[in-house]
């Protein structure tokens, strides 16, 4: 109960919006130029297993770039090489045209999937400690306001809820006022309310024209936040572009969704494009009338039929045959 209440304070804080506005507008206004980060022919092998296979892409400055894929696709390995945490077997990552070095560490902010902090330290003490590691950055009190941590500043970091903990880790990632921010599955495990609060925070970071590299399992998160996405599977990038471009490339206009148990075996032989998910059957079509007629002729019950536009989850199913959270 207390956790939920604290998470909600995020939205209720009266000075929060003003803080975020200051955060979003008062800083450097960099113009989108060349790539801030280039990934060139990246390969990572663990023994005989190839986790990342010849991956290349560029991230322009000021963009929110999403790296999507199911568990084991190689996205965390890729992002950790990009963060300079893991070494690549082959290939390289360049920050502002240079190999990763001191400048990159000073100008990059990172939020890992899981990070433990030092025991017994309060939220403010954690931020102060990390602030001390950088030559330049934001004031601790400003970070506390931006990430809505005012009421938690004196609390032991181990006694924070999941959402509060993620806000603290985001504040730590912002402590050096980074030009480039890595967010590795930042909302995994958060409840819907905390997740939406977190998205709002990320949008305020985007508004500062910071470059964000995001990995996520949540397609709505990617669609909402990302300007461009790359979808990975089996260590390779299998599609890349803006969410709209990719959907337009791979899908016709609409998608019909039926409960699996209401889709008879006899209907599987119909001339339709059918994708079977775990509990539903999805049919893509650019001629809705004709498809509906075909289904009715085959006496498929349509009481629970849902018609919706395709989303990134559908795109992933289309491309790999796997659910994104598999």
């Amino acid at each position: 109960m207390r956790r939920a209440e604290n998470d909600r304070t995020f939205d209720r804080a009266p000075n929060l919006l003003a803080s975020r506005r200051r955060f979003a507008t008062g800083m450097d206004k960099k113009i989108m130029t060349g790539p801030i980060l280039e990934v060139c022919n990246l390969v990572k092998q663990y023994g005989t297993v190839t986790a990342v296979s010849d991956v290349s892409f560029r991230v322009p400055e000021g963009m929110c770039f999403g790296l999507l894929g199911p568990n084991g696709a190689g996205k965390t390995t890729t992002i950790e090489i990009m963060e300079g945490i893991l070494s690549a077997t082959a290939g390289e990552v360049r920050y502002r045209g240079e190999p990763l070095g001191r400048q990159f560490r000073e100008e990059a902010g990172i939020l890992f999937q899981k990070t433990a902090l030092q025991d017994f330290l309060t939220v403010r003490q954690c931020l102060t400690m990390f602030r001390g590691l950088y030559d330049r950055g934001l004031e601790v009190e400003e970070l506390i306001k931006v990430c809505a941590l005012e009421k938690l500043a004196g609390r032991d970091n181990r006694k924070l809820s999941g959402g509060q903990q993620q806000r603290l880790l985001l504040a730590i990632a912002l402590v050096n006022d980074p030009a480039l921010i890595f967010l590795d599955e930042p909302t995994t495990g958060l409840d819907p309310q905390a997740r939406r609060n977190f998205w709002e925070l990320i949008q305020s970071i985007k508004a500062r024209r910071k470059t964000v590299i995001l990995t996520t399992h949540y397609m709505e998160e990617a669609e909402l936040l990302c300007d461009e996405i790359a979808i990975m599977d089996n260590g390779k990038i299998i599609a890349q572009g803006t969410p709209r471009e990719l959907l337009n490339q791979h899908f016709a206009d609409v998608l019909l969704e039926l409960p699996r148990h209401e889709f008879p075996d006899s209907a599987r032989h119909l001339p339709l494009t059918v994708i079977e998910a775990s509990d539903s059957v999805e049919i893509t079509t650019n001629d809705l009338d004709a498809t509906l007629r075909t289904l009715m002729d085959a006496r498929v019950p349509l009481q629970n039929l849902r018609i919706r536009p395709p989303n990134l989850e559908d795109l992933f199913l289309e491309l790999t045959g796997k659910a994104l959270r598999a």
Partner: protein
């Protein structure tokens, strides 16, 4: 219940067996302990008492029946002043001078006849293998620390073999055993705090991902390790000063030498031992392996650095091995300061050794440090 217990037991066994480094160490450690203990303590019966015998040459056991006593370790000592220092500092339980066989006699013989071989150079050396023979050339003289319980007992043993032996006055202040032990207790506490405190903290940081997070900042391994060393150093110095004040007031101990010099020594020794602990924790992620390696360091240090007893008379290689440990240098130098009032000049080799090892361990630790295990 049994099924659940077996399931967990089996899973834990698999975890242990598949952690190859720990498994290997667990198998090797007992063997190393057995071999080490057999070297240090094996062979002859362990003596209970240590008696210094003034002699410039290896001892001739036939010189006096007392030299045949069991459970007494007879150690040749070159000079009377050296022997007296060891008696007063409880490094030996009793100092014995057998007439015409000790160093004085040996020196006299060397001066007169150019030989001091085999425990003396005079004609009577080979004749007397009993008490009478010794007494025939005058009674043995001995020095004993009257504050030493072991000295009291070994004196009784001597007088049983040589009733006419003459006790000489021990010059200088006799050191109580507790005074001799005091630096050892402080040093042992420092050693454990240095090695285990830092080792486990770094290991925990590595396992819970905190090191990985730090790796993503401009912080270098050397900076991180130095911060750990300094943090632990402050803690250890605070605790050690507190312990010193507390224990010294209880046992009414007053250091003969400079407390400032003692503090400097404690700083260097702590730095050396903390940095040694960091070299162990620099790259491993297994608690069991790190615990084993730290035990491998602390056990020999505890046994061989002279915390509980002096290594006087131990085999040369044991003394050489002991001289590698930072704790040995800490204890030798701190006893010199606290008991003898030694100044910088007397302990400068120990200070240099501790300083050099501190830097060397820290540099090695930073070089071999791993933020995370891939």
């Amino acid at each position: 219940m049994i099924r659940r217990l077996v399931s967990v037991w089996h899973a834990r066994n698999l975890e242990f067996v598949r952690d190859r480094s720990t498994l290997l160490f667990t198998l090797v450690m007992p063997v190393m302990l057995i071999v080490g203990m057999s070297f240090v303590f094996g062979g002859q019966e362990r003596p209970l008492f240590k008696v210094g015998v003034l002699s410039a040459a290896p001892l001739d056991k036939s010189a006096h029946p007392f030299l045949h006593e069991r459970f007494v370790d007879f150690v040749p000592i070159a000079s009377e002043s050296d022997g007296l220092h060891k008696v007063t500092h409880q490094q030996i339980d009793l100092l014995l001078d057998l007439p015409h066989r000790g160093v004085a006699a040996g020196a006299r013989a060397s001066a007169n006849a150019g030989t001091g071989e085999n425990g003396g150079g005079d004609a009577s050396a080979g004749a007397g293998a009993d008490a009478d023979a010794g007494d025939a050339q005058g009674p043995p003289r001995y020095w004993v620390n009257t504050d030493s319980p072991k000295g009291y007992i070994v004196e009784k043993l001597l007088l049983a073999s040589a009733p006419t032996a003459k006790r000489e006055r021990v010059t200088g202040t006799a050191t109580r055993y507790i005074d001799w032990l005091f630096p050892g207790i402080l040093g042992m506490n420092m050693m454990f705090s240095c090695l285990f405190g830092v080792g486990y903290v770094v290991l925990r940081y590595r396992k819970n991902g905190f090191l990985k997070r730090l790796h993503a900042t401009p912080l270098t391994a050397f900076e991180f390790l130095s911060a750990q060393v300094l943090s632990r150093l402050c803690l250890i110095l605070f605790v050690t000063v507190l312990l010193y004040i507390g224990i010294a007031s209880i046992i009414h101990f007053h250091s003969a030498g400079s407390l400032l010099l003692l503090f400097v020594l404690a700083v260097l020794a702590s730095l050396s031992m903390i940095a040694l602990g960091l070299t162990i924790a620099a790259r491993f992620a297994s608690e069991e392996l790190v615990a084993g390696l730290l035990n491998l360091l602390t056990w020999p240090m505890m046994l061989l650095s002279g915390i509980w007893f002096s290594l006087e008379g131990s085999p040369q290689w044991v003394q050489w091995l002991a001289s590698i440990f930072p704790l040995t240098h800490l204890l030798e130098a701190s006893r010199a300061i606290m008991l003898d009032g030694a100044g910088v000049a007397q302990i400068v080799p120990d200070l240099i050794y501790l300083g050099v090892t501190a830097v060397a361990f820290l540099v090695f630790g930073a070089w071999s440090f791993r933020w995370r295990i891939e």
